[in-house]
Symmetry: none
Subunit: 238 residues, 2 copies
């Protein structure tokens, strides 16, 4: 995540001014994630000890300090609206549409994260499902808006390469986002204890790398391609 | 590793725009390695204590905390595909070939690292050899593609100096990569205990410095040479 931030920011001079705000935000998203993953790493390390047993095997024990998954939700509350805004900005829509889409998708995605948290910290399965369902309402709204609403914007990209990158970014968002509700369900379908917690953490981490760093690389590639097209004067009328 | 990162990034303004992405990634590879070597260092320190005995000698004891070699494999999973991509980018092949080679070599090398890990954490010699053999399949594919497939690209470099640097980078990759399977075998040929672990760590560390920092210097020299040729207008038709 940290390396992705440095990559995006070092690439700022290589794109035209129109795309620098999108690329700056792309780097901020992975920077915020870097910070929270350090907190998650430390919280995880403090929650467990590993010691050698007789016979050379290792034994993992709880230290009593709680593993705090709240860092993840604070991270999402900040980064999820930002990464939708970076996608909207790199599309270079008319200004009024950029502002209105940023507000709608930004607020809906923040609401989605906020509604997921009360269920995440619950052991009671019915309460977990209740908040999961509530959170899925803004989730479906965002994914639907991206999949359908931005399809038109994709078709207006200035070159075939740009259109295919925009399309890839849109689908990567939908695909990586769909992993989160499934990972959330790991504990809701009856899996419990250390194994469930481990699957959940691995699942969220992979989804985060896809949705932030890999997605950011697509945003950068799109910004670079559109910059090259604009600089060569081949920009089609928008 | 950290110094190499700073060197590569400070050199960014000294190469033309075409090579800045390659040089940025070169610095990211050594940055990721810096991070993981700090983790490896700390894990090693926590696994052993050194105390003085009667007679002025020192005694090394296990603390019970395990030495985690997983950091090395996470490092390789990220850096090995990236350093192949930096080599492909600095060759400046046609765009379609760059994208297709990056995917093929990137995925094959990640698979190679992933297949090596299950054997690395095994004491059982036959299991170690099994994963070693599996991991050697993508290894051979990558090394063969570099040694043969990129030979043609090397011959198309824009100056004799650039061609000889490209050739050196290609051979350094093949040579430094060949060290890894031999180091992996240290424990598979019957050596065990502290001595084997020490030889393995020293071997991997030397190979890493060659494959990342020294290799990066060659990438930088090649980018600088090609920038100079392009700026003096002597670029041959590609």
């Amino acid at each position: 995540m940290g390396s992705a931030t440095i990559f995006f920011w070092l690439q700022l001079p290589n794109v035209t001014k129109s795309y620098r705000t999108a690329l700056t935000i792309t780097g901020i998203v992975t920077l915020i994630a870097t910070y929270h993953y350090i907190r998650i790493f430390n919280s995880w390390s403090e929650a467990f000890t590993v010691a050698s047993k007789d016979g050379g095997d290792y034994e993992v024990k709880l230290t009593g300090a709680p593993f705090n998954d709240g860092y993840r939700y604070v991270d999402w509350l900040l980064t999820v609206p930002l990464l939708l805004i970076e996608l909207i900005l790199v599309m270079k829509l008319p200004q009024a549409e950029t502002v209105s889409l940023s507000w709608k998708l930004g607020l809906a995605s923040a609401l989605m994260v906020a509604l997921g948290y009360p269920g995440e910290i619950q052991e009671d399965l019915s309460v977990r499902w209740f908040w999961w369902c509530l959170s899925m309402i803004p989730f479906c709204y965002v994914v639907f808006t991206l999949a359908v609403g931005l399809a038109e914007a994709t078709s207006k990209q200035p070159s075939p390469a740009a259109a295919s990158l925009a399309s890839a970014a849109r689908y990567l968002t939908v695909f990586s986002w769909l992993t989160y509700p499934f990972v959330y369900m790991v504990k809701s379908v009856g899996l419990a204890g250390p194994a469930a917690t481990m699957y959940e953490q691995v699942g969220y981490s992979i989804a985060d790398v896809m949705a932030k760093a890999v997605f950011g690389v697509l945003i950068w590639a799109l910004a670079a391609e559109k910059s090259a097209v604009e600089e060569s004067g081949k920009l089609l009328p928008n």
